[in-house]
Symmetry: C2
Subunit: 429 residues, 2 copies
């Protein structure tokens, strides 16, 4: 293989190692070299140890094939426990903090043969206060957040795949801004043991990668199913086009991406039906983003707030304070609204292969002080449906703009198949 | 007050301190004295530090009233994080393990003025392999589990209230066996940040206390609502009597407790209607207890299993192995069945104040090698509904036998009101 090995996909790495054409060590070394070259600009890593990574790789090279991820380097968002790297939460409060063991997702990835390359930068406690990471397409722009380091590292070919988490839009927004594939599974499909909660009824563990197959492969290892690599739809899909009640807040490039995708996919044979949601949905954003998020934040951060409140950013501290003051009745009303919306969206998704929706407000915003608006991602997170961002378009500054693809709960594999069909028609933007 | 202060309820303690008739220190001291006297028999505590407890109490006595739990000593199940005591999970793997901070529930209790007295014994990782705790009514019998120490300590007047967690029957079974009030809230009503997961879609944080008001008071502090102390139903309740598909497996004392309760409450003016559940429910126990539980256990224990599998009991290790082998399709089917049953039980609960159901198979079993059968508690845990055990009856050996009271999701306060009405008619068994 003539390409630098850090540019390979997970599936190529696994195949190459199985065929005896590659070693895990060589792949890991090329990833580390890329990191050496680009990290001063990208600042995507919170903890990385060259020797530890290479040692894992060499052990895998000496051992029989351990599983479907044998030799695949993986990045881990820094709110997810790892026994061999500190978990620092993007906060000086947790500087050097060493967890007892691995999170469930990390342990399963390791068991399947992954090389835990290091920890990727997260916004403070997976919230809105950014870390130092820059956008690989233009370092003056945010990579998005809160899975900032995971998105940037994958986009920049430092690592083929990385774990992220999404409470609002923390996987799909950085994926869209950085031009990679983001995947937020059906709520709770990937086990959450060993992650620091932001808001427990919304937090979802997911993945960022450069191909749909790679997302599929890693997920398969975590949930105990066979990968469905390359599997696409047998016939042109029935698609929904859902602008959501937030449509008017989208920038021109996002409206263009969604409408252009719909029209090209329609021309390619897909049926595309406009989906208009009930009035309830217009209140969903507020209910999940404010009420549920704040109430649960006040609890997930209660101990940190009590002991180290002075070292928590104002933006996060304000949320904690709002959440402390939120009465239970308001919280339960918001939970009930979210539940009603989940039930109401199901009939829309039945009979469709997927819904196309805006993914972000627009391309990555200028500056590193804010990770962008989570509204379009939060909307679907609160509905518990599996959703992906696909890097199909570009904005006026030449930065990536993704579209969002959504399927019914637990139809994650079908979502992958639909996404392959869509990417096959639209291509990388 | 002439009673030893360790026999007071939380509401009495808070009132006594507010009235200047008591100090937190005096209450804590009497609890500690009771523990000194009885702990050699009960073995309810995993970690306890007399000085640390008294110091907290003295600080509260010097400070202005901190909140609704000012001066209340509380026990914490040993899978729940505390910054000032180790969290040892009932496993030698976690011997001396110190968490970074408090779990959300502990932090909120502390903020409201509770004295964190110490950590109570849990079965290994909140599973089925018992700790050393004995039943306060007869030390040859199990106290039930997995919240064994919390139930025994509360029943024996070592502490007025304690945190427990329930994945199957880990709060209500020991509550019933030890003759106290057990409360498993609506799923997720009490935030789970900072607890070690057993099975994340079932784990629920709850309470054990000697009165319904105490459960109400502590919950109110955690969820941000006003306590509804003493509030009972305005008129005689509409009750359901649900034997569940497991009825034939119940011992005579449990069948008697449920039928006696129904008949005496009916005589007191309640309407009692028999509830027969659809066929789906007969498969719920297997789906939740085996499929969901094992699959999620394999994940919550993945890291412990990989690094310390040789120090995990056979009974738990077997579950992990079964869970590792469970295909995702089976797991998702079980989740969907549980969801269908949740929807199916709602119409039964609407229009009722509460359902009466068996709580345990019978009185506490003889011996300390097994914590008893979780079937009757697991059934309702999987339905996400709030449920309580009330200590209304006794079995043939003179040991307590509880009845279970169940309400619709999020109607936890209404459940308390119904429970007060019921306890007012039946009295302590």
């Amino acid at each position: 293989m003539s390409r630098s090995l850090n540019r390979l996909s997970c599936t190529e790495i696994v195949q190459g190692i199985a065929d005896g054409k590659l070693t895990a060590e060589a792949v890991t070394r090329d990833c580390l070299d890329r990191i050496d070259a680009r990290e001063p600009t990208l600042k995507a890593w919170a903890a990385l140890d060259r020797d530890r990574a290479l040692q894992q790789a060499r052990e895998l090279d000496r051992a029989p094939r351990r599983g479907v991820l044998h030799g695949v380097p993986i990045g881990v968002k820094d709110i997810i426990d790892t026994f061999d790297y500190p978990t620092q939460m993007g906060s000086e409060i947790y500087k050097g903090y060493q967890t007892f063991g691995d999170a469930a997702c990390v342990s399963f990835a390791r068991k399947a043969g992954a090389v835990i390359l290091g920890k990727t930068v997260t916004a403070e406690f997976a919230g809105m206060s950014p870390g130092p990471t820059t956008n690989p397409h233009n370092p003056a722009h945010t990579p998005g957040g809160s899975s900032s380091g995971s998105a940037a590292a994958v986009a920049d070919h430092m690592v083929p795949v990385a774990f992220g988490t999404q409470t609002g839009g923390s996987i799909l927004r950085p994926a869209s801004y950085c031009g990679v594939v983001g995947y937020k599974p059906t709520f709770n499909l990937i086990n959450r043991a060993g992650i620091k909660f932001a808001a427990e009824t919304l937090d979802t563990v997911g993945l960022l990668a450069r191909t749909i197959d790679d997302v599929d492969l890693v997920t398969a290892a975590l949930v105990n199913r066979a990968p469905s690599l390359g599997k696409t739809l047998e016939s042109a899909p029935r698609l929904g086009l859902c602008r959501t009640p937030l449509w008017d807040t989208a920038e021109a490039e996002t409206r263009h991406a969604v409408e252009d995708a719909a029209s090209r996919l329609s021309a390619a044979g897909a049926s595309v039906r406009e989906i208009v949601l009930a009035e309830e949905f217009s209140r969903l954003y507020q209910a999940s983003r404010e009420t549920i998020n704040n109430y649960e934040r006040a609890r997930s951060m209660a101990s940190d707030w009590a002991a180290h409140g002075d070292r928590i950013s104002k933006v996060l501290g304000d949320r904690v304070k709002l959440g402390m003051a939120t009465p239970q009745t308001e919280y339960v009303e918001a939970l009930r609204l979210a539940e009603r919306c989940r039930a109401l969206v199901e009939p829309h998704l039945e009979g469709l292969d997927a819904i196309i929706a805006p993914c972000t407000k627009g391309e990555a915003i200028l500056g590193l002080g804010h990770t962008g608006d989570p509204a379009f991602q939060q909307f679907w997170t609160a509905l518990y449906v599996p959703t992906m961002s696909l890097p199909t378009h570009r904005g006026p500054k030449g930065l990536p703009v993704g579209i969002q693809l959504v399927a019914a709960r637990y139809r994650d594999e079908h979502l992958f198949a639909a996404a392959r069909w869509v990417m096959g028609r639209l291509g990388q933007g």
